[in-house]
């Protein structure tokens, strides 16, 4: 008899789309954070243009040492706003794809962008032949800046971006696969985390009203990740990823995956589809 009861409950649940656990957030309350986020993205793109210019200039000038030194930091402002940049999949492919994404790997003519130049600098050990890639990267980044300027930011994409950034970290940063030639993954790691934390902080007041425990838990996990990453900060950036101990990689995976789970609930908490 008990079981029949549960089946009835199922029908009920499926029929009514039971439960509304999200905060009563009106669309007008989202305008402020979304606008602030667009400003954040715009500022990041300005920095990205500046950094990409310095980086590609060094590549084109044949200054191998300088280009290698600039590589890690040059990507930071891209990684922080990746959920928005990824809305333009053609540009994301040409700016940030990895060799794995291409049939002929490093030798594939479609392999361009940051990681193609990274391969030249850190594996081939030369700037020879990289000028066309540098020119294309610069023009792609400028194109991205222009396209984002004309973009209306959908709130669900903005809020969903926090979880998307953590998925990036969970799938390719923990393993050190992002910058496999330069091992500068920690720049990207921190940038993804910072980008996600920015989104969380912007919407935090709206969620805090209804779910203080959630906000507290998320903030604590961000703090744990930041604390571990801080151990690897150097004067001009971060240690190479191969310096990150096995224990710390594991210690990062708990809060990272928990953040990925929790941030995936942010849209629901804000009543966004």
């Amino acid at each position: 008899m008990k079981i029949r009861h549960s089946a009835a409950m199922l029908t009920l649940a499926l029929g009514l789309m039971a439960g509304t656990a999200h905060a009563a957030v009106s669309p007008s309350e989202l305008v402020g954070p979304v606008t602030d986020y667009k400003i954040y993205v715009t500022e990041n793109l300005d920095e990205l243009v500046k950094d990409t210019k310095a980086f590609t200039d060094a590549v084109k000038a044949g200054d191998l040492a300088k280009a290698k030194a600039l590589y890690g930091a040059s990507r930071v402002h891209y990684e922080g706003i990746e959920p928005i940049a990824e809305l333009f999949s053609d540009l994301d492919g040409s700016i940030d794809s990895r060799a794995d994404d291409h049939e002929k790997k490093e030798q594939d003519p479609g392999f361009t962008g940051f990681h193609r130049i990274e391969y030249g600098l850190f594996v081939t050990g030369s700037t020879d032949g990289l000028t066309p890639f540098a020119d294309k990267l610069m023009s792609d980044v400028l194109d991205l800046q222009k396209r984002v300027a004309g973009l209306t930011f959908p709130p669900e994409k903005v809020v969903g971006g926090a979880a998307a950034l953590l998925e990036e970290v969970a799938s390719s940063k923990i393993s050190g696969e992002e910058d496999r030639y330069a091992h500068t993954d920690l720049f990207d790691f921190q940038a993804n985390i910072d980008g996600a934390k920015k989104i969380f902080e912007l919407f935090r007041p709206l969620i805090e009203k209804s779910d203080k425990a959630f906000v507290k838990k998320v903030a604590a996990n961000f703090a744990t990740v930041d604390k571990i990453l801080a151990k690897y900060k150097t004067a001009d950036g971060y240690e190479y990823y191969d310096k990150v101990t096995e224990a710390d990689r594991k210690a990062l995976s708990g809060p990272v995956n928990t953040l990925a789970e929790d941030l995936s609930k942010m849209r629901g908490k804000l009543g966004l589809n």
Binding site: K2, L10, M17, H22, S253, T258, E261, R267, G268
Partner: protein, 436 residues
């Protein structure tokens, strides 16, 4: 949101005809046979050492979770099995307790089945949904064991390590890959279908990201051999084409299991370990191309059985006991044949008996274009040293090694059973250590 506990209360009842009608009404029962039988039908051979390997009965949908021992050991072996091992991410004693309580809660839900919490569709769903809206247990068992690494300095468990638990060391023929070895916790997941096992694993991964880090997993399957009326039971074949498990001790013989499988009071083991067991897991790759190019006569000499029937060389069926005493020089069964080394059938080697519960695995293709397949070997014993470790030492150097390469696995201690709803997995250990 519908609370999970309420669902448990509703569905905690044993499978019943009512339930079958409910499932049929939902269009979910397809193929799954549901019965109100209170006990699993098990094979009833009386000979303690010559029985068929335990096979799935298909007559019960859910295996009981509560009991003196954990399920999934003497439980009839269903068609699909998996070992997943995890490292513990908890760093505090409080979180360690939360880990065991959460693990217990998830396993109770998954092995009982029921309706997962229904959430607003603007949230990610609470369940992966790969089994449909209602989770069916489908004979699922989840058996939790601890590796020796759990008994380090992290949680103050050092003085509570089971006396014979060690970190698996490589045998001479092993080529262990570190990423396929060891782990703080192993979970053996078995059920009628691979999807149910995957569902269970995904549930743990989703619900415990801050507590568990998935280290490795290996899935396997085994053909379920239905018992033919009036005929002796048959053992399933491994990927070498031989019957595997013919000499397995009878898992439905409780007294025998007390002797071979379960840690008993009155020995030198810590009290919390009583009614638990030692689990040895090995991922044993078989070089099947080479094996298939080996003459049948040689294959049979290497194994010590007739390939077609599984019978020993002096017998007619796989259940006949080989008579090594009258064959000291190995004229009939070579002295280095696999089954003779594994179980010499002497009075002294009776204490080395183990309960095997293996699955065949098939993973893909090696860089050399060869098939990556073999045996997910799992065995249980009351004494790891007298059991698997001694048996493996006898097997070191056997001719079969040419065709085998163990690449992974680990040694674990299988926790005692969860007595009732007030109890939970690991509680006796935590209580002994003053954590619960």
């Amino acid at each position: 949101m519908i609370e999970r506990e309420k669902n448990h209360d509703r569905l905690d009842a044993p499978a019943s005809p009512d339930r079958r009608r409910v499932l049929a009404g939902l269009g979910l029962a397809g193929g799954v046979m549901v019965s109100g039988l209170a006990q699993a039908a098990t094979t009833a051979d009386t000979d303690a050492h010559v029985t068929d390997a335990p096979i799935s009965d298909h007559m019960r949908e859910a295996q009981p979770f509560h009991g003196l021992h954990q399920a999934g050991i003497v439980t009839a072996r269903p068609a699909n099995g998996m070992i997943a091992t995890f490292d513990v991410l908890a760093t505090t004693k409080e979180d360690l307790v939360r880990l065991f309580k959460t693990l217990n809660e998830r396993i109770v839900f998954l092995t009982t089945g029921g309706l997962p919490p229904q959430l607003d569709p603007r949230y990610p769903p609470s369940d992966s949904g790969i089994l449909g809206p209602v989770v069916v247990p489908d004979n699922l068992t989840m058996t939790v064991s601890l590796g020796s690494s759990m008994f380090d300095d992290r949680f103050g468990l050092k003085n509570f390590k089971p006396a014979r638990l060690s970190r698996m060391t490589g045998s001479p023929n092993d080529a262990l890959e570190p990423e396929l070895c060891h782990g703080d916790i192993s979970v053996q997941i078995c059920s009628n279908t691979a999807d149910v096992n995957i569902h269970a694993l995904r549930d743990l991964v989703k619900n415990m990201p801050d507590l568990l880090y998935l280290r490795w997993k290996q899935e396997g399957s085994v053909p379920v051999m239905p018992r033919k009326p009036g005929a002796p039971a048959e053992s399933a074949r491994n990927f070498l084409g031989f019957r595997d498990g013919s000499a397995n001790p009878n898992s439905s013989d409780a007294a025998l299991m007390d002797e071979i499988v379960w840690v008993q009071p009155g020995k030198d083991e810590p009290a919390w370990t009583h009614y638990g067991s030692y689990q040895a897991v090995r991922i044993i790759r078989n070089f099947v191309e080479r094996w298939d190019r080996t003459p049948l006569h040689e294959q049979q000499q290497i194994i010590g059985r007739v390939k077609a029937t599984g019978a020993p060389f002096h017998g007619k069926t796989e259940h006949d006991v080989p008579d090594y005493a009258s064959d000291p020089e190995g004229k009939a069964t070579p002295v280095d044949a696999h089954i003779r080394l594994a179980n010499p059938r002497t009075a002294q080697t009776q204490k080395n008996l183990i309960l095997r519960r293996p699955f065949n695995y098939s993973n893909g293709v090696s860089k050399a274009g060869q098939l990556e397949m073999g045996l997910l070997f799992i065995c249980y014993q009351a004494d790891l040293e007298k059991g698997f470790i001694t048996v493996q030492k006898r097997l070191d150097g056997e001719p079969l090694e040419e065709y085998l390469k163990p690449v992974g696995g680990g040694f674990f201690f299988t926790l005692p059973g969860v007595r009732d709803k007030k109890d939970y997995l690991g509680r006796p250990l935590l209580a002994a250590a003053g954590l619960a």
